[in-house]
Amino acid sequence: MSAPLAISTQGMSRTFGGLVAVDQVDLAISAGSIYGFLGPNGCGKSTSIRMLTGLLRPSAGEIKVLGENLMGNEDKIRRRIGYMTQKFSLYENLTVLENLAFVARIYGFSWRKRQQRLAELLQLYDLVGREKQLAGSMSGGQKQRLALAAATLHYPELLFLDEPTSAVDPENRREFWERLFDLCDQGTTILVSTHYMDEAERCHGLAILERGVKRADGSPQQLMQQMAAQVFEIAGQDLRSLKQALIKLPEVLSAAQIGSRLRVLVTNSVSEPLAWLQAKVEEARGAGVQIETQIEMVRPNLEDVFVTCTGQGRHGDVA
């Protein structure tokens, strides 16, 4: 990669007692990109972000943030990063303006600069008219915009967002991502964790985490192309029992019903997957039973990548 790295880690690990929350994660995140951590709850996304922001010390491994070793330089680096926590972490019994003014003072903004920046942020994050509203009384989307305003108030070079959209509706989510791309355009590197596939798909780079281990790393397109499985969709009747039969085969990584279709992932170790699957479907239907079924090969999506990487489809519960 040509761009300098905003974050690089080697063997980053963290244990809590006997539990390994993050296990030997290597990261290389280029400056100016939006990078995503994708994974289910408890996969180590938050722990990783907390280590990268210096809130938790890694049990092992090296972390470089914005070109400097994190250990020992936390205070210096903290002036250059912004962090939006998973849980709303501003003061609920302060107003929008009071919260922002507090953050501005903490970052040492003079009176004039503060007034200017606050006006700018209120405008940018659509909070004009709500200056005197208590943060605790706002909706999920409004709180999220306020939190983003506070996290970006001091023009951070690197922004950490821990599941920023978990409490907002889809429309607000789309709008929120527009704002992230605006920030990215201005040169901010963004690291965002999510368990939504559609959000992950918007990232420039992506790491899929499962139980503390990085299962895959790359751009969403790369991940889909390099996927170690072929994706088929089966249309027809009685898909529930067909699913039960197919999921037992070791070559089938996942079978999930999506509307009136069954989405099946067949591992690349099968040389002629389409023919193989047709044979297996007929076998499952039993001889002599004539049920019309159509099988076609489809383009993989990120969810397929996720399922292939994590082996979650085996249990039939896809995140």
Binding site: R50, T53, G54, L55, L56, R57, E74, D75, R78, R79, I81, G82, Y83, T85, K87, F88, S89, L90, Y91, E92, N93, L94, E98, A101, F102, V103, R105, I106, Y107, G108, L134, A150
Partner: protein
């Protein structure tokens, strides 16, 4: 640095002003406690329920009972036929004391020195015995001491004799609280107790609350330094503490006529030192406790000895040496000494420099400890 401390101060004041309950408590706790302690605590016991066992047929016996009743120390409620019944009544808690008048009461009374026959042969004097006996529920030392004070009750009235004034062997001149009202001593002491309670409580929850409500995770990724956060958390409550001091001393003066002899400047300085010491103590607690409940428990842990060992309830000098050491470690003890000296004895802070310096040292050490203990980390 100053801007960041200021930011925290402004934030704390805003939050405090939104918290009406706490705001009300700042005023109500001192007022209510002052009334409670001022009116309720009284070490001079009066009107204790008592009984009589009268085995004497003498006409003097009822006169003795009347004389004791007239002292107002006890109210005779019951008569018991014998000592066993009286003891059972004590056990039941029906009465606190029983006056036992023996069958030979009249004889004893007449042989009593200076009371009975004017001249008793020298040889008979050692035979003089107390005329009657008190059976007392001694579990409460205040009750016991009050009844004991009746031991020297003059018997003139019983015998209709003129008072033969006896000369005390030692005379006592009482300075500073001549009327012996306990409230005069309680109000300045109450300052220490109430300030310990509110000040330690406010700050002991301060850091923990931010942690529990999730604010800390954001706060520690900002460039704020621990000492700035600590100072910012303390400063608003110094003002709160001074308001409480004014309420207690003002109301104490108006309601209980507690004199205010010392200088206001001395009092303000002493209070300020104590408030700061208590607030830092709370901060240290706050860096130890993981939840608000734990911080509350630790506050009570500090509060109880501050009430019982600081000299507020019992004289410091009467405690065993080990307890005095513990008391010395508590800021409340030092403040109690200073506030009583200033309010009641017109002492200057300068004359109390040991206690003043101790509180100052406690504050500084506490601030350093709290800042060091507060790592900007989650683990």
């Amino acid at each position: 640095m100053l801007l960041r401390i200021f930011a925290v101060v402004v934030k704390e004041l805003r939050q405090l002003s939104r918290d009406r309950m706490t705001f009300g408590m700042i005023v109500m706790i001192p007022l209510v406690q002052l009334m409670l302690f001022g009116y309720a605590i009284n070490t001079d016991a009066r009107h204790l329920p008592a009984g009589v066992v009268n085995l004497s047929a003498s006409a003097y016996a009822p006169r003795l009972v009347n004389a004791v009743q007239a002292s107002q120390v006890v109210d005779f409620k019951r008569n018991y036929a014998n000592v066993m019944e009286a003891e059972a009544a004590l056990t039941r808690g029906e009465v606190k004391a029983v006056l036992y008048i023996p069958p030979d009461f009249a004889e004893r009374l007449l042989r009593f020195p200076n009371q009975g026959q004017a001249e008793l042969p020298i040889s008979a004097q050692p035979l003089a015995r107390p005329v009657a006996q008190w059976l007392v529920d001694g579990s409460d030392t205040v009750v016991a001491a009050t009844i004991k004070s009746l031991r020297q009750m003059p018997l003139n009235e019983v015998l209709d004799r003129p008072v033969s004034a006896t000369v005390a062997s030692l005379e006592v001149v009482q300075y500073f609280n001549p009327e012996q009202r306990s409230v005069v001593n309680i109000v300045p002491g109450l300052l220490g107790v109430i300030l310990t309670m509110t000040m330690v409580m406010f700050t002991s929850a301060a850091i923990v609350r931010e942690r529990e409500q999730g604010n800390m995770e954001f706060l520690i990724t900002t460039p704020i330094r621990p000492i700035e956060l600590m100072l910012g958390k303390i400063l608003p409550y110094v003002v709160v503490g001074l308001v409480q001091v004014s309420i207690i001393l003002g109301a104490g003066h108006v309601l209980f006529d507690v004199p205010f002899r010392g200088g206001l400047d001395s009092m303000a300085l002493a209070s300020m030192l104590f408030i700061c010491a208590s607030l830092t103590l709370g901060l240290v607690i706050s860096t130890i406790a993981k939840t608000q409940l734990q911080s509350m428990q630790l506050t009570i842990f500090v509060l109880l000895p501050s009430i019982l060992l600081s000299g507020f309830m019992f004289p410091y000098e009467a405690m065993p040496v080990a307890a005095q050491w513990i008391a010395e470690a508590l800021p409340a003890t030092h403040f109690m000494r200073m506030s009583r000296a200033i309010v009641l004895r017109d002492a200057q802070v300068m004359e109390l420099s040991f206690d003043a310096l101790w509180l100052l040292g406690f504050t500084l050490v506490g601030l350093v400890v709290a800042s060091l203990r507060f790592a900007k980390r989650l683990d």
